[in-house]
Amino acid sequence: MNGVHDLGGMHGFGPIPREENEPVFHADWERRMYGIARILLNQRVFTLDEYRHSIERIPPSVYLGAKYYEKWAIGATGLLLEKGIIKPSDLKGVKPINLNPTFSLSAKARGDSIFKHPSRAVKARFKPGDKVIARNVNPRGHTRLPRYVRGKRGTIQFDEGVFALPDANAHGGGMILQHVYSVRFAARELWGPEAPARDSVAIDLWEQYLEPEPARSSNGRGRNGRGRR
């Protein structure tokens, strides 16, 4: 989903809001909300993938204006309502904020663990040093492939092991197990020729987000985009 949560590379949010002597929680409702969400996740009432996607589906102006744990509250409430675990009347007059529906709601299906799986059973398509391109895809559902790397050329740094694909697991699509790789992209490949020459961004990408980089043309579009000048 190309939502406002996909913030990498955006401008216009002003200075970073730092707070001296920041407490862990700023109010009691934050404390409670953190604990409630953790317990619901621990008990697999919903999966972390479903929960992340519910937060992504908060209306954009609300998402950008809300406090952090407020988003947790809106997302959790919306998800519990969608799954039929609670009813609007259970909320005692508190009006829930509707989440944006997607083409496939999480519905009643329970997803499963997001954590590392034994990797023996799943073959790895890539190895460290391989040149890859992040696919140019624009799924309407949950994905952990952010817009700023799509279509860009990077290098596999290391294999992180086997994990369930969030794109499926967030929508009751079950456990599609894939290798996840740390992929490094030159800052110039991502942001253009004005970026510092040596800086880079590494990001963790599921195997299906990647394809092998086709062999270079002889007149040279370099890996880090300098060839494009």
Partner: protein, 224 residues
């Protein structure tokens, strides 16, 4: 220049503290009544993340790595196991921890552009700035500008590696050991290791600037 309009304007005024309090109370009460949330488990969980887990854990790990080259090797090779070794689970999620070493030529910075992934087990819960749209937006595209905002100036020939934690591995930065700390004990060293230095937006404190304070930019004060 409009300086800090973010702080108040980004919170919608139509959602006063009392509304969100009611919203969460209603949620808690229905979940407790349905048996989905156990109040005692809830209190325990909150207590753990408010009082027990925090950047002092990461600071201890870093100080050990600074003092013990063999430990440092193990830490860089398998962060999860090395943190476990000191008696800390790497995170409640059972996820893998990868430790990134800063050097005079390579500086690592961690962000989560899509949400707020953070090494809970070693740093506790993230500060508001780490979760802010401003940091998430800018850390990947303008890391030097971000570091400057944190007072961290790097030479142009230092390579910056930003790590966007978009999957289920978590990253902890091992900052450079500051000069002038050769005779400090491991506990004293831990006092130099701030939360921000383990995210990578700052360097560890120099021993002059208040070495004996507890780490964590405010954790200590809050506990008093």
């Amino acid at each position: 220049m409009a300086a800090n309009h973010q702080a108040h304007e980004h919170h919608r005024h139509d959602e006063p503290e009392s509304d969100i309090t009611l919203r969460v109370k209603a949620l808690e009460s229905i979940l407790v009544s349905k048996g989905l949330v156990d109040p005692q488990a809830l209190d325990m969980l909150i207590d753990t993340y408010e009082h027990r887990v925090g950047p002092h854990i990461g600071a201890k790990v870093v100080a050990r790595a600074w003092s013990d080259p063999a430990y440092k090797r193990r830490l860089l090779e398998d962060g999860t196991a090395a943190v476990n070794e000191l008696g800390f689970p790497p995170g409640p999620e059972g996820i893998n921890l990868i430790v990134l070493e800063n050097t005079p030529k390579v500086h690592n910075v961690v962000v989560c552009t899509l949400c707020s992934c953070y090494p809970w087990g070693t740093l506790g819960l993230p500060p508001v700035w780490y979760k802010s749209p401003a940091y998430r937006a800018r850390a990947v595209g303008d890391p030097r500008g971000v570091l400057r905002e944190f007072g961290t100036e790097l030479d142009d020939d230092v390579e910056i590696r930003v790590w966007d934690s978009s999957a289920e591995v978590r990253y902890l930065v091992l900052p450079e050991r500051p000069p002038g700390t050769e005779r400090m004990t491991e506990e004293e060293l831990a006092g130099l290791v701030t939360r921000d230095s383990m995210i990578g937006v700052a360097k560890a404190k120099s021993p002059k600037a208040g070495a004996r304070k507890r780490p964590g930019n405010g954790r200590a004060e809050h506990r008093v």
